[in-house]
């Protein structure tokens, strides 16, 4: 075991300073040290997608990163993205469509969908259902059968596109 190392990171907009063991994963750091338990651990091997958070604006598996690797960077978790309101329409669509059951996979799916929606929005396209299903290829859901999730993302993309056109 190597002695704890200093770590300075911006989490959900606030600076955080801690000493952490080099072997500590980013997911365990967020959950254990910071109490940000919205980041979930389903497999700890990068397969299920439940732990996905944004690192400098890009979705990453928090279970595959070490906390010391994010020194000096910005991490946004489901809690921060929710509080900032950037997911509000997507969350409302998931809620209305019941695009979740146990909710354990939902934070990772929302982070991924948020990222995809931004690029679809930037390109001015509404994604096909196949494109949405493909975008979710790194996220397991065991409850919903995926269709409602696809519906919720599709309706959000369409609403954002319509708003964009209207503006």
């Amino acid at each position: 075991m190597i002695a704890p190392q200093p770590l300075a990171v911006t989490v959900n907009g606030s600076p955080v300073r801690r000493f952490v063991e080099p072997r500590l994963s980013l997911a365990d750091f967020l959950r254990g040290d910071l109490g940000l338990t919205g980041t979930h651990l389903g497999c700890e091997s990068g397969a299920c997608g439940a732990c996905i958070v944004n690192l400098d604006g890009q979705p990453v598996h928090a279970c595959l990163m070490l906390a010391v690797q994010v020194d000096g960077m910005r991490v946004d978790t489901i809690e921060g993205l929710s509080d900032a309101g950037v997911l509000a329409d997507l969350q409302a669509a998931f809620h209305a469509r019941n695009a979740l059951q146990c909710g354990f996979c939902s934070p990772g799916i929302l982070v991924v969908a948020h990222d995809c929606l931004a690029s679809w929005d930037a390109s001015g396209t509404v994604p096909s259902r196949e494109a949405i299903r493909d975008a979710l290829s790194g996220n397991y859901c065991r409850c919903t059968g995926y269709e409602a999730i696809v519906d919720a993302i599709e309706s959000t993309a369409r609403a954002r596109r319509n708003r964009g056109v209207a503006a």
């Binding site: 959950r31 389903g42 809690e79 929710s82 809620h95 019941n98 290829s137």
Partner: protein, 788 residues
């Protein structure tokens, strides 16, 4: 008759597709799952697991581990010997079922690869895992018993040395004269193999036990669907007062039946907290989940069907052999699944001649027990495969042979040859509805046209009959402490809102949402003014909780009757104040009204009065605004539901890959309380069934090693592989309850793999090939096609 039009209340909430109130919290990352719970002075557990499927346990040296940084205690089987009484997974109504006693950790032998052997308790999970690496154990390897047929051979080595053989349970069901029926009929037969699979809940199992010696109180936070069952188990096996054992199931990240069995780690964690007098947490990682969560559906079924030249089914004969791991799971046993297979085969059809044999065999693999739609997918696939083969033999269409043979609407109540009693099913209605929904003639025409171009599509259908709303006949009569009743405590708060504590639990299927709808409608209050509490043995009344599709049918009826009771209380108090007869008053929109709906006083005024100004009530009128109600089903032993699935697939005959193009479900779960939730329950269930059909299999080596125990190796359906799923409903409410609801949670899983099996075989048939093993992997399809 729609659910809304004849609903017991005003039709405002029952039958409406309202979103779940609790879902917003989960979407905001504010869920609170067991592993999220942190207690002061909490320690973490990790387990050293057996690398061998079968071995005698020699000396265990933990001395190096005990002095590792952060380690508080290292525990072995001997440490629990006097702390905890052993458990045995038998039920008295399964005569002859036997199983070896279980303890938290083994003392003499290990019986599956992955069995926990030594437990380390440390400051952190990482430190506990560090210490596992320096523990030394002398394992003396023994011959593993893996294969089903080898395990039941008379001279097979035995897993339990005291037992005469490795067969844990045998039963035979016999009705009529099968031999006579087979003597004078066409015969079709199957030899179907079903791969072991497992639940893969997104949240792994987690348990956090906190024993307070000053009050002799045990609090356990646990990811489970049955907190009362665990309260009873911990109290009984550790000799604690049940009233001082509290089990809290906070948010649960999926369960599917997997989280209602007792696991060795649960008992070890509780035992460790009792010994250390501190909170101890264990959360399984994914590898541990694959190697110790229950597996399901390891069956080999040989079956024959006799059919007359008129296309009328005459008899079915079945031999089901199922491998359940080294012992029978506790407290529900590993015999229930096979029992349901042999009782449900042939259930939708008019049959009087039936014989079925069940053999439950021990093996050195992970324990096998109840998982979503227990036994149903096996029974459905066997039956529906036989029926399709019979149709093929006689040149009948799959729809036509079912039309000719279903139990007809004038036959209810109907008893199957295996003894199940059906109040009323809607088989023919569902069949015709599916025919229209699929546009069956159009699909057949398209299939024929595509075959001309070398594209091989298959269309399959599968009928299911599902067991829901179980009475004590299920477990109680067998001696298990598993409740068939539910309880509800309903309170009008001083501010005139409603608090509802109920014994059914929430794992995302929407139990809390539907109970809120039922109570709001039953009382005549706004849904937003009803708060539903679940999952805590200290704050909710005891009851069966959520399994076997009992939440809506039994829990919902309990809530409805409780709301009637509370309404009576409110009206009695209001009547005393208003100087009216309670019978002339009603409650609508949170107000006590005259019969014509004219508001007389708000519920807030009634509550204020009862709580703060009871001096204004006549002396013979109680101010109580809390009621408790319990309900257990008393009519039919089970409420059977039914439905039918359709599957459209395309088989690539060069690669063996199957594309699932579309799936249809017509289901009848009685009264639909929330169609939004029912539809998503069914879709999720279908996808679990399609996983069994095409992807999911726990694969073992000859030495009993699980070969694919990770999410990278064990395939679970993903978004891009799954089709859109079309759902339609038929509603045949049960008359056993006022609510009329039956279960819907297993309908999706029950028949989807059977429909897919028939669909793939329909695609292969013109090529002279057939497949009889699930999952239908590309390799198996290519073998069926004789390509490899």
């Amino acid at each position: 008759m729609s659910a809304v039009a004849d609903s017991p209340g005003a039709g405002r909430y029952i039958g409406r597709g309202l979103p779940r109130p609790g879902a917003k919290r989960l979407l905001a990352g504010r869920g609170r799952y067991t592993d999220d719970v942190v207690l002061p002075r909490m320690l973490h557990a990790a387990f050293l697991r057996s690398p061998y499927a079968h071995a005698r346990l020699g000396a265990i040296d933990v001395s190096a581990a005990a002095v590792m940084p952060g380690v508080h205690r290292v525990l072995t089987g001997a440490d629990f010997a006097l702390l905890c009484t052993p458990w045995v997974g038998t039920l008295s109504h399964f005569k002859g079922l036997r199983s070896a006693p279980q303890r938290p950790l083994p003392t003499d032998k290990v019986v599956w690869a992955g069995q926990p052997v030594v437990m380390v308790i440390a400051e952190t999970r990482a430190e506990a895992e560090d210490a596992l690496e320096v523990i030394e154990i002398d394992f003396e390897e023994r011959e593993p018993i893996v294969d089903l047929d080898a395990a039941r051979a008379p001279d097979a080595p035995r897993i339990d040395a005291d037992a005469p053989d490795n067969v844990l349970f045998r039963t035979r069901i016999e009705a009529g004269s099968v031999a006579d029926a087979f003597a004078e009929a066409e015969i079709v037969s199957v030899d179907l193999r079903f791969g072991r699979h497992t639940a893969v809940t997104m949240e792994p199992r987690a348990v956090l036990a906190d024993f307070d010696p000053s009050e002799q109180r045990l609090t356990v936070h646990q990811s489970t669907q049955t907190p009362y069952q665990f309260q009873d188990l911990y109290a009984r096996h550790f000799g604690l007062s049940e009233a001082r054992v509290r089990v809290i199931a906070p948010d649960v990240g999926g369960s599917f039946g997997m989280k209602l069995h007792l696991y060795h780690e649960d008992m070890a964690v509780v035992g460790a907290s009792l010994l250390l007098k501190r909170p101890v947490k264990f959360t399984a990682d994914r590898m541990e989940a694959f190697a110790s969560d229950i597996h399901a559906r390891d069956h080999r079924v040989r079956a024959r069907l006799a059919v007359g030249p008129d296309g009328i089914l005459r008899a079915i004969e079945v031999d089901d052999v199922t491998g359940v791991g080294p012992f029978s799971a506790y407290p529900r046993t590993s015999a229930v699944e096979g029992n349901q297979v042999v009782r449900l085969i042939g259930a939708p059809y008019r049959l009087t001649e039936y014989r079925a044999d069940l053999t439950v065999v021990a093996q050195n693999k992970v324990q096998m027990s109840q998982y979503r739609a227990v036994g149903h997918p096996i029974a459905c696939a066997v039956t529906e495969r036989l029926v399709d083969l019979a149709a093929d033999r006689l040149g009948l269409d799959p729809f036509e042979i079912r039309r000719r043979n279903y139990v007809t609407d004038d036959m209810y109540p109907h008893t199957t040859p295996s003894g199940y009693r059906f109040e009323k099913l809607s088989l023919a209605t569902c069949l015709e509805k599916l025919h229209d929904l699929m546009d069956y003639p159009g699909l057949r025409a398209e299939q024929a046209a595509l075959r001309e171009r070398g594209i091989h599509r298959g269309i399959g259908i599968a009928t299911y009959v599902e067991i829901t709303n179980p009475t004590p006949a299920f477990y109680g009569v067998g001696g298990a402490h598993i409740s068939a009743q539910d309880g509800c405590v309903l309170k009008l708060t001083p501010a005139g809102e409603v608090s509802c504590a109920i014994s059914i639990t929430e794992q995302g299927q929407g139990s809390e949402a539907i109970i809120g709808q039922i109570v709001a409608e039953g009382l005549g209050v706004d849904r937003d003014h009803v708060r539903v509490l679940t999952g805590d043995t200290e704050t909710t009344p005891s009851g069966g909780a959520t399994w076997a599709c009992r939440g809506a049918g039994i829990g919902g009826e309990t809530a409805l009757q409780a709301s009637r009771k509370l309404k009576g209380r409110i009206l009695e108090i209001a009547a005393a104040i208003l100087q009216a007869e309670p019978g002339t008053l009603d409650i609508r929109d949170d107000a006590v009204t005259d019969a014509d709906g004219t508001p007389r006083m708000t519920l807030r005024e009634v509550a204020n009065l009862a709580y703060y100004r009871s001096d204004l009530l006549p002396p013979d009128v109680s101010p109580a605004l809390t009621v408790a109600h319990h309900f257990a089903p008393r009519g039919y032993p089970f409420a059977f539901t039914n439905g039918i699935h359709g599957s459209l697939v395309e088989v690539d005959v060069e690669t063996g890959f199957v594309t699932i193009l579309k799936h249809w479900v017509v289901e009848d779960c009685g009264r639909v309380i929330n169609p939004l939730l029912v539809d998503e329950q069914i879709r999720g269930g279908v996808v679990q069934g399609l996983g069994a059909a095409f992807y999911e299999e726990c694969r073992y080596s000859e030495t009993g090693q699980l070969l694919n125990g990770s999410m990278g190796d064990y395939l679970v359906p993903m978004a891009c592989e799954m089709p859109d799923i079309v759902i339609a409903h038929v509603e045949t409410p049960t008359l056993d309850t006022e609510l009329g609801a039956k279960g819907c949670g297993e309908a999706g899983t029950a028949a989807s793999s059977g429909a897919a099996l028939n669909a793939v075989n329909d695609a292969l048939r013109p090529l002279g090939a057939g497949i009889s093993q699930l999952p239908m992997t590309p390799e198996r399809i290519l073998r069926a096609l004789d390509v490899i």
